[in-house]
Symmetry: C2
Subunit: 456 residues, 2 copies
Amino acid sequence: MTDTIKYLIDETRIPKYWYNLAADLPVAAPPVLHPGTLQPVGPADLAPLFPMDLIMQEVATEREVPIPEPVREVYRQWRPSPLFRARRLEKALQTPAKIYYKYEGVSPAGSHKPNTAVPQAFYNKQAGVKRLVTETGAGQWGSSLAFAGALFGLEVKVFMVRVSYDQKPYRRALMETYGASCTPSPSKETQAGRAILAQRADHPGSLGIAISEAVEIAAQRDDTKYALGSVLNHVLLHQTVVGQEAMAQLEMADDYPDVIVGCTGGGSNFAGIVFPFLGAQLRGGKKVRIVAVEPAACPSLTRGQYAYDFGDTAHLTPLTKMHTLGSTFTPPGFHAGGLRYHGMAPLVSHIKQLGLIEAVAYHQTTCFDAGVLFARAEGILPAPEANHAVKGAIDEALKCKAEGKSRTILFNLCGHGHFDMQAYIDYFGGKLQDLDYDEAELAMALAGLPSVKAAA
Amino acid sequence: MTDTIKYLIDETRIPKYWYNLAADLPVAAPPVLHPGTLQPVGPADLAPLFPMDLIMQEVATEREVPIPEPVREVYRQWRPSPLFRARRLEKALQTPAKIYYKYEGVSPAGSHKPNTAVPQAFYNKQAGVKRLVTETGAGQWGSSLAFAGALFGLEVKVFMVRVSYDQKPYRRALMETYGASCTPSPSKETQAGRAILAQRADHPGSLGIAISEAVEIAAQRDDTKYALGSVLNHVLLHQTVVGQEAMAQLEMADDYPDVIVGCTGGGSNFAGIVFPFLGAQLRGGKKVRIVAVEPAACPSLTRGQYAYDFGDTAHLTPLTKMHTLGSTFTPPGFHAGGLRYHGMAPLVSHIKQLGLIEAVAYHQTTCFDAGVLFARAEGILPAPEANHAVKGAIDEALKCKAEGKSRTILFNLCGHGHFDMQAYIDYFGGKLQDLDYDEAELAMALAGLPSVKAAA
């Protein structure tokens, strides 16, 4: 049997810094604006929500941001994560392509999210914060922050999008096992939640709404801060350990990617694997094709507008320029809850606008087909979000087969699906539907985009 | 923060052979007997159920049994598994003890079981077998054989104990994702199952019954063999990669255990970590205290008789001498389904009888207390079975604290609990009960032990 190969580097090679793409961009990303003044926000504007260390990382321009030693100590529990050459999958596809995947499901919480949950908890602890409030979709982020909170002795409160809260009770149980509390969103605990429930009592929730609730609670108390699992620059920055390690591991394999594939919801796992390679390219290195894979039912990169918009539904956040479906857009309840966000990370949107990456959208059934094929070949059961990346990588491999060309494909398998088994049960039971968003709702949400003519 | 430390060895140090305790025993274990003749069984007696390579390993006497290279290739996907020094747990307990755990949940199926599922699938494939039939309790074994079957192109059919089938639908979904079929046991597909259902239509099932069903099906067709996930010598043999790696990793830490703790159902994960250390002791090395932790509701080592008994309820298997609660004993439906077996591995029973190990039994609630404490300190959520080992290790660490002594404790964290979250939900909801077996039923089951005076 030609078996799957693992490339493992030792823990001395856990990156000592996070890689900051801002240092290598040909054009700087547009500034974040205050929604009242439409002027760029300063550190003081963000201080009620984040500790100053994270705010400074949000606007950092140096290429290398040092990783504090206590954070590297925690990373050591599961990092460096393995890079696999998927030879069993290649054989199943009969493709001449070489397929590599970086597997982030080895973290205690089961995804890439602890890469940023741990430093966020660390910096908040350093700043004397007692409690973190956040939102979560499928629960990967909520359980990761719960894990990090347990390590650093911080109380963690999670607003979980109601449709996922109902679909994934076991993910909630994991958060509670780590000692966090978990509330379905929209909830009656906040003004934002009550306003939504007044309009529609059975509202399934959205990440935009859950963010509003978390931000509202965080702003009420000095000992409480907000934490976000994706979208923001500092979150993407923390994820770059993934791509840096992958680079070192591919060097072991004496290989380099022709194509990199990642799934995109808020953009953080995608940025994590892509940015270090893109930075190398921008500094004169080899050009790599980069493909973002998103859900057809929430297609911010392929169907959204590149415009200034709010990060949340109740409009409590600053305005960021990004690919957006409109902050009031509520995607249907497909299983990849981590990809159900109306916007895209400003940095990922910016490089899309610069033509440095491509994007493609798939419906969920075809992604589960890919995920099951992958599980039978590689033994690892991907999360529904990760199935999008698997589908994208398999399609690239099949293109190689059709063209009779061998290319090197790298993708980020950002998490396992152990807490998403109901989705697989639905899939095998023929109950998984290819949900679509409502065109009229999208048009309305886009029509409601804030008018930011001056700055845009 | 004084953080948890990972000891990782590189893949060249995956063991090249399995360690066979039989070579170092002061007294050979009693032979396996044919239930009709009461004479020791020969290889030919077992040939309908197992391929000859596995039968020869069952009776092997050499110390080192080579691991075939294709098996080591598959092991490489997750082996060597990490050994952790649980410094965050030590701190939470304020104990002077040093606590190490070997973490087998890193395998694709989430437990130690693939260590034997892979070689079993390999040897069956080599022998031209097309289909494997097996039983499973909680599903750790069934999903591991399903995984191995997918890799080697073998059809896999699993009889799952009904109470676990109902408690753990997601574990079943995992088996199906790997392409296996899963039937609740007792079923109407076999004579053994139908006989049980005739007595009690809502029978919750037991491992003994599920084994009967699997053996019955396997014996019907030449292209079909049976596979067992624990108990037998060759299964325990395959698990010794765990202890061998732990030994090398403790050498890195410049340490050696004073106490080794493992949970015991059939005995395989316990044997896996213990036998290499016990062998070293028997060859003149350091004496180590060894503690087997079992469920109080199915206490074969602490309450069973050491006697010849059948491995299954319908009496289709040979007779083995072991600690047994009687082959008709049905334990209550506690959550550690992998520990719900009426007997104990003959080799583990034998060393218990020789006074080389101790045994202790705990109820499930206290084990979950330990598991939640562990999860909050170490970030890893243990399976209900593994919680027994965690509880045993914590008790040893607290003894050290009470005595003011620092001892080195090693335990096997044999699997994660990602598919057992209902148990945690019940725990947090106050619905987890300390189930006990029925004393009258135990007395009846023990009274029914076969009479084997001559050989015993």
